[in-house]
């Protein structure tokens, strides 16, 4: 059994990365073309890594399951990307970004990794601007910023509500350039089916061509997994339909530890569930909390009247509204971190104040009326009208809102058929991001030699809760500025290795196993669709491993998932053949992995006898319903080792977390 070595460099935190870079091995430019690297996933973390490694001169093969690398789900990130530039002169610094991220993560992230992230954050913005990413600008031509949750500065760079799109298209353009130059070979509509290890090292993958169904062997000197998070284990989430855990899970099954799987981010501002045929949930960016105020009625009878359609929110007087975030957290108000905001909304709905007329009455308001009036008045003033009419104020205010959030308001109206300029948005928390992931050391290498994991797929930077606008930052930091150095240090030992053969017994065996699992599904004489099982898994996860967890529920979840797994293999029906495009087969392979992961998440949540960040154990809360951490016993990363072909039997390894530069304290946003 391996022990965890986080390989954090010695020295003061502000010098660790620089010193480490100065002492890592390099691969000379003339040797790089002798070395192959596989990158799985082309979101921010994958595209930036593939582009950077291609620029350096390595032979890169990049894989994505979508029809183009530009479609990866980073594209859907809305609000922005953090960077400690302090352009707004409001006291920001690398240290503050580092501090906010550690605190926001409820003291469950590694100090050294987070400091490095903050350190390179400014470079990301420089790099993106140089690539032609059209960030929002002020009238003076300089970059604009806004605020996000869990911070008291303005450090978020953005491009309307489409920041992820613009950053991904930037990384995609860099990747496209390398593809055009022949330094990266792109395999779109390809899915990684397994990792191939030779002599204990990651030496390639088995991929399936999703158009022809053909299984392909690809060898390399190192494999980078940048395949994103696992939120779709809940079936309903804000993730794209194709987002899946399979690449990360296959690596886990081959020996990489999986860390903190129970740390899941439930995002407070999503459009509430509408019905049983719903396929996914839609996020309304956190940036809206800059301008929107969250409330429910103070009186239960008002909430009920609204649900029954007898009352409109605009008819409820100011004094009858409970702006519960402003009430509970006056210092941060509507901009508390996501986990805090989500739990507060759940608390109000559980108490009967929910306003949505769905099965669970789960919904709260996000109201822009105050902001429309205040910005409208400002705009009028700026135009020289110091005594504007009511109509003018509202008109100008709406115009201001449209400029800032137009695409989000439009998206909301399309989905709900409600006009959010006139009536408050209805929102409720939904699964959005997963902080847990494959365990990696400071070099982003997993516990399998030569297998590196970047972006959301790893566990490293966000602790138990990620702050808004930090996912984009981490994806690009890993891919542009961390991995290219650390992977070279590893590859320096491979300059004489030569091509890795794909006709070895290891490749033979891996391919045969993949083939067998495909046949198993296609020959199964089941009666139910893959989605049928996925939805049931999602319900178990949401109800028992969701926003609030307890011992009894988690134990039930573990058993229910075990039973579901058995039923799945017995009764799933997968139509079609192996040698063609077969979307049901793709789903079946992914759901098989989600089922195993779901169990491990419950096992992880069960062992963590504390509440921290997104992990809320009902047994561990204070008298005001805030999380109660147990730093004495649980200040560690839970890294699970797969054993005996069963997620339930995984072995727990603990990586202790040491806080030398930040004083660990109760997280307080009051």
């Amino acid at each position: 059994m391996s022990t965890l070595n986080s390989r954090i460099p010695e020295g003061p935190i502000s010098e660790k990365w620089t010193n480490h870079k100065n002492h890592m091995k390099l691969v000379a430019p003339n040797n790089r073309p002798k070395i192959d690297v596989i990158v799985v996933g082309t979101g921010l973390a994958g595209a930036s890594a593939a582009a950077s490694l291609g620029e350096m001169g390595y032979n890169v093969k990049a894989f994505c399951f979508q029809d183009s690398p530009r479609r990866a789900h980073s594209i859907a990130a809305q609000g922005g990307i953090n960077a400690a530039k302090n352009y707004q002169n409001d006291g920001d610094s690398v240290y503050r970004l580092f501090y906010d991220t550690i605190k926001g993560g409820d003291y469950r992230a590694r100090e050294a990794n987070v400091y490095r992230l903050a350190e390179v954050s400014g470079n990301i913005i420089d790099q993106c601007v140089a690539q032609g990413v059209p960030f929002a600008r002020e009238y003076g031509g300089l970059l604009d910023n806004r605020s996000f949750g869990g911070t008291q500065v303005q450090r978020t760079f953005y491009a309307a509500g489409q920041t992820g799109q613009q950053l991904l298209l930037g990384a995609y353009s860099a990747l496209s350039r390398q593809i055009g130059l022949g330094r990266v070979k792109m395999y779109h509509r390809h899915e990684m089916m397994d990792l191939v290890k030779v002599d204990g090292k990651a030496r390639g993958i088995i991929a399936r061509n999703l158009v022809t169904g053909e299984l392909e062997r690809h060898s390399a000197h190192a494999v980078v997994i940048a395949s994103g998070g696992y939120g779709n284990v809940y079936f309903l989430s804000t993730n794209a339909m194709g987002s899946n855990v399979s690449a990360a899970w296959k690596v886990h099954k081959k020996g990489a530890h999986f860390a903190n799987p129970c740390f899941v981010q439930i995002h407070p501002t999503c459009i509430p569930v509408h019905g049983t045929n719903q396929s996914k949930l839609t996020l309304m960016s956190e940036s809206l909390r800059n301008s929107g105020r969250i409330w429910v009625p103070k009186k239960k009878e008002d909430a009920q009247a609204i649900r029954e359609g007898n009352m409109k929110p605009t008819q409820i007087a100011e004094e009858d509204r409970d702006y519960f975030l402003e009430r509970r957290y006056p210092a941060f108000g509507n901009l508390v971190p996501r986990d805090v905001a989500s739990r507060a909304a759940k608390e109000r709905c559980d108490e009967g104040f929910g306003i949505e007329a769905n099965d669970t009455n789960e919904g709260v308001y996000l109201d822009f009326a105050t902001e429309i009036r205040s910005k409208g008045r400002q705009s009028a003033f700026a135009q020289g009208d110091h005594n504007p009419t009511e109509e003018k104020i509202v008109a100008l205010g709406k115009k201001w809102i449209e400029e800032k959030y137009g695409n989000l308001f439009q998206m909301y109206q399309k989905i709900t058929d409600d006009n959010p300029y006139e009536t408050p948005m209805k929102i409720y928390p939904a699964v959005h991001y997963t902080m847990g992931g494959v365990w990696v050391d400071y070099n982003l290498q997993s516990s399998i030699e030569g297998c590196f994991v970047t972006g959301e797929a790893n566990f490293s930077d966000h602790g138990a809760n990620r702050l808004g606008a930090s996912a984009l930052m981490q994806g690009l930091a890993d891919g542009y500025f961390v991995l290219p150095y650390t992977i070279s240090d590893y590859l320096a030992n491979d300059i004489r290795t030569g091509k890795i053969a794909t006709d070895s017994p290891e490749f033979e065996q891996a391919e045969a196993e993949v083939q067998a699992s495909i046949e198993r599904f296609l020959q199964n004489k089941g009666t139910k669709s893959v989605d049928h099982f996925h939805k049931r898994l999602g319900l178990i996860m949401w109800n028992k491993v969701g926003m609030a967890r307890n011992e009894a529920g988690l134990n039930e979840a573990i058993e229910e998932i075990a039973a579901l797994r058995e039923e799945f293999y017995k009764d799933v029906f997968v139509p079609g053949d192996a040698n063609e495009m077969n979307t049901e087969l793709e789903k079946a392979m992914r759901v098989a992995d989600f089922i195993e992961l779901g169990q491990l998440m419950a096992v992880d949540a069960l062992q963590r006898l504390e509440s921290c960040g997104g992990h809320f154990r009902e047994e561990y809360q204070d008298s005001e319903g805030e999380t109660l951490r147990d730093d004495e016993n649980f200040k560690y990363v839970a890294a699970w080792e797969y054993q005996d072909g069963d997620a339930k039997k995984a072995a727990l390894h603990k990586e202790a977390l040491n806080y030398e530069y930040i004083k660990i304290a109760a997280r307080n946003y009051k």
Partner: protein
């Protein structure tokens, strides 16, 4: 959101693979919630087909938020269906009424061959991008400070509007000539409007246009259909800008 349930008839293009001959099949679907998205309706149809042990309809989709550009579909003769400024995944069944017959076909264009059923191959777009849709700057983090070059807000906003293209291909599918000029024009414009893109502007437009022609896309005859059907409202102005850039590059480039 007063949801209703409607019954519809679907006429859907089915085609086993790129070599097979395809045809329209008819399906009845009952109890479709008007709050469902169009793709959720197709999920419902597929669930029904699987329960009958039949093969589901293959269609491209991913984010279902109107941003990834993966969904396509010609719905009742219009790219992305009847609503303007809307991708298929953001189209909702409240746009249809009980008893409707809905035709669903793949993108139709020589440059987008059919892969299966409603899925087409749009990799020609990627190859155009690879020919020049970038700024040649290596990763270093040591470029100049992001605020070193102020960019007029007007230009930045225009560049952003062009960059908002999601690469779905509706412009090509809806154009009677199968032209990709709105897509290419948007990418050329994004860079042409920014100082970072100026250095390579001439080579970029020439290379991208050359690749566009090689891929078999048709020419533009200014019908403006692409702009009407573009779910992101990319303006025809971008085609005009590309033409200006191309003309000036062709006349003044060294080579």
């Amino acid at each position: 959101m007063a949801s209703k349930f409607i019954n519809i008839t679907l006429k859907i293009w089915r085609q086993k693979n790129s070599n097979a001959k395809g045809g329209i099949e008819t399906y009845s679907l009952a109890n479709v919630s008007t709050d469902s998205s169009f793709l959720e309706m197709l999920d419902q149809l597929n669930e029904q087909l699987i329960n009958e042990q039949k093969e589901p309809v293959a269609f491209d989709h991913d984010c279902r938020e109107g941003i990834c550009g993966m969904c396509s579909l010609y719905i009742n003769g219009r790219a992305h269906g009847p609503e303007t400024g809307t991708t298929t995944c953001q189209l909702h069944m409240r746009s249809f009424t009980d008893g409707d017959t809905i035709y669903v076909e793949p993108w139709r264009s020589r440059a987008f061959p059919i892969v299966k059923d409603l899925v087409v191959d749009r990799s020609a777009f990627d190859r155009i991008q690879q020919a020049g849709g970038f700024v040649s700057v290596n990763t270093s983090g040591r470029t100049m400070d992001a605020n070193a070059i102020p960019i007029p807000k007007h230009d930045a906003d225009k560049a952003f509007e062009a960059a908002a293209c999601i690469g779905c291909g509706a412009c090509v599918a809806t154009c009677k000539n199968g032209s990709a000029m709105l897509f290419v024009g948007a990418k050329v414009s994004q860079y042409a409007l920014l100082p970072q893109g100026k250095v390579e502007a001439q080579d970029r437009v020439i290379n991208m246009v050359r690749q566009m022609d090689e891929e078999g896309f048709g020419n533009c005859t200014n019908t403006g259909a692409c702009e009407v059907e573009c779910p992101k409202g990319i303006s025809l102005e971008n085609i005009a800008r590309m033409n200006r850039e191309f003309l000036s590059a062709s006349l003044t480039a060294d080579k």
